[in-house]
Amino acid sequence: MTISDQAPALQVRGLTKHFDRPAVDALDLTVRPGEFYALLGPNGAGKTTTLRMVVGLLRPDTGSVSVLGVDALADPIAAKQIMAWVSDEPMIYDKLTPLEYLAFVAGLWGIDPAVSERSARDLLVSLGLEPHLHERCEGFSKGMRQKVALAGALVHDPRLIILDEPLTGLDALSARHVKGLLSDRVRAGCTVILTTHILEVAERMADRIGVIAAGRLVAEGTLAELREQNGHNGTSLEDVFIALVNVEAAAA
């Protein structure tokens, strides 16, 4: 199966996952290449479950997932090769240094060390971790750990980056570093999908926003389109989001 630049960066059709109750309910979602897409929703709406199914950490009950034309359920290895996943809990090893961690991630993705070493150093420097390159991560703050995890996600130059609450626990400067890095990647043609409870981030950075509630996509579009769809012209994303979620809760 080959990667297609013409295909959507992510296409999800009829994605369903039940635990005790439906977590994701026949979800359809399309994200275009080079797009910064923000997925919003209240706690327990199914955002993380959706993204974990996309990156291959959870098997869906039904539905399909396609990443740049690659069927992620039929050929998960090929899909994983072009994706990166950053969860809200940084997935790093306390006993490795940031540089060792990135070397490990680059090795897992089979990247040429000559390329990955330079890329790793550049990434860590750009995230303000240069003084800590050779320190083990065990003494790092939550923000530093999150930055190391993010650098790990970027070191293999993925075409689709999926981030679950990447800014939680970051100070203002760190958050700016991360946002800058993600914007640079989008400008370079990479696709970013991000969940966040910080609506200001979605409002400022996202090309399009999807709102998910009770496992279904209840609204999607640019900020202006969302305002228009819901008759909230001139109001903030927060107002639109709360209105959408309230409507969905009332319907349930």
């Binding site: 990156v55 997935m91 991560c137 003494g139």
Partner: protein
């Protein structure tokens, strides 16, 4: 709240935490505790059988006992004390490094001296309780067979538990002051392992050098030991006399232990707080490593293997969990060395010891590499199949076992090539079996939970132990009684098959 009320409130809090932790450890964290407790009771009753086999014949022992009996009893009590001391050193070190509630406690307006006095008492309580639980089948067997006078042994267990906790705390705090918090964690683990294994190993080494056997009782029951032992009124026999029912000596021992623990609590409570602060401050300064060789060409599996080896090498708790197993290899190694020039048949004993150690060590390493994956999502999201990941991790375990045991097998080959071949096969089979059991019972856990791996699945723990024992016995029988080896091997295979059958097998990569 008055100071006394606050102290009793905190003591109740500590006891509740210790009880819940103990219960979780005993029940493997299962919600259906009733069934788990019933299972534990049945198991405890069952343990009276092996206790009877080991100690039943001594129940009729009456005072005055001969010197050899006193030596064996005193050595056994000292061994129990050394093991408790080892456990208490580890517990004390963990109190300093596990910062679960230290920040909360130390930021509260409570008196730290009082708080840490209670915590010291809690360590003594936990160590003593565990020793009481383990010794119960043995004491019961003695009391049932020889009368209630043997119940005084419970008092001796309490006395040695309190004294072991007191010495452990003094020793650990002294280590912090002498070498600082950065090195204490490692050194304390080494000290704990050496204390725990040192006495038995010392006896075995002496037995090998004097009698050419691994049996530690050879030294204890020898005429020379009796000749060098002090007279019957010596204070050295007090613990043994207390076990035999001497109430006055027992009360003296209990009083001395209590005074020792009280003194340690008084002297070290303040220092305990200071030490905790120093350790907490040290947490901000992480270790440094040279990453010169971090980026290297190789396959994805090589990257995984490199990471696993690096993490094993840097694992702070691996030392305490495996050093004792490795130390027990020292006597067989010494026996090997002494057997080069002779054709002693006793060298056959080396094989089961090595095979058993290989199985146990492989189980620990397999848990760390397979279940103890701190970045499970990262590895799962990488472009590798789950079978590739598992294979790389298993390779790490087997390579580590190979590296550790190859020198011993090679040395054995110089003394007896056929025995070396049997030992090598035994090591490989025991290691593969232990790894397979960890694979069948794998869970997603953090490496820091390593100490609790045995509580996650009692079944896996017992299967691992029985498999190691079975393969060790089979290897020994291959060398001495091949027909019996066939039966033993088939029985061990049966254990493996039954374990596989009831294991929560994973068939999906998700």
């Amino acid at each position: 709240m008055s100071s006394a009320a606050a102290l009793s409130w905190f003591a109740r809090h500590e006891i509740r935490l210790a009880w819940r932790e103990w219960l979780a450890m005993m029940t493997g964290g299962r919600r259906n505790r009733k069934r788990a407790v019933i299972g534990l009771v049945i198991f405890a009753l069952f343990m009276h059988l092996p206790a009877y086999a080991v100690i039943g014949r001594f129940a009729k022992l009456q005072t005055p006992v001969d010197k050899t009996s006193l030596i064996v009893m005193s050595a056994s009590i000292f061994l129990a004390w050394a093991l408790m001391l080892s456990q208490a050193i580890e517990s004390t070190t963990r109190v300093f490094y596990a910062r679960a509630d230290l920040d909360l406690i130390m930021s509260s307006p409570a008196s730290l001296t009082n708080v840490f006095s209670v915590r010291i008492a809690a360590i003594a309580l936990v160590v003593t309780s565990m020793a009481l639980v383990l010794s119960t089948p043995f004491i019961d067997v003695l009391a049932l067979g020889g009368g209630i006078r043997w119940l005084s042994a419970y008092g001796v267990v309490i006395a040695i538990g309190m004294s072991a906790a007191a010495v452990a705390i003094a020793l650990t705090v002294a280590l912090f002051h002498l070498i600082g918090p950065r090195r204490t964690r490692l050194v304390a683990q080494i000290v704990a392992a050496i204390i725990g294994a040192g006495f038995v190993i010392g006896l075995q080494v002496a037995a090998i050098l004097s009698y050419g056997t691994l049996s530690r009782f050879a030294i204890l029951t020898s005429d020379s030991a009796a000749a060098y032992a002090p007279g019957p009124e010596s204070i050295a026999w007090w613990p043994a006399r207390a076990v035999l029912g001497d109430g006055q000596v027992l009360l003296t021992l209990l009083a001395c232990s209590l005074i020792l623990l009280g003194t340690v609590m008084t002297i070290f409570s303040d220092q305990f707080a200071d030490t905790a602060v120093r350790v907490a401050a040290r947490g901000a300064r992480a270790g440094r490593s040279s990453s010169a060789a971090a980026f290297h060409t190789g396959s994805r599996q090589q990257a995984l293997r490199w990471k696993e080896f690096l993490l094993l090498r840097r694992d702070p708790w691996l030392m305490s969990q495996t050093l004792m197993q490795l130390l027990y290899l020292a006597p067989p190694a010494l026996m090997l060395w002494r057997s080069f020039s002779s054709s002693a048949t006793a060298i056959v004993l080396v094989t089961p010891v090595i095979v058993m150690a290989a199985g146990q060590l492989a189980g620990g390493l397999a848990w760390l590499t397979i279940s103890g994956e701190d970045a499970a999502d990262l590895v799962a999201a990488a472009p590798l199949s789950s079978s590739q990941v598992i294979r790389a991790k298993i390779e790490v375990v087997l390579m580590a076992i190979g590296a550790i045991f190859a020198p011993l097998v090679l040395a054995l080959a110089l003394a007896s090539p056929p025995q070396a071949a049997v030992t090598a096969c035994g090591v490989a089979i025991a290691a593969v079996s232990a790894t397979a059991i960890q694979l069948w019972f794998r869970v997603q856990a953090r490496r820091s939970q390593f100490r609790r791996r045995q509580t996650a699945s009692r079944l896996a723990t017992f299967a691992e132990a029985f498999s190691s024992i079975g393969w060790a016995a089979t290897a020994a029988l291959v060398l001495t009684l091949p027909v019996a080896a066939l039966i033993s091997g088939l029985m061990t295979l049966g254990i493996m098959a039954a374990t596989w059958k009831i294991s929560p097998r994973r068939t999906s990569s998700f």
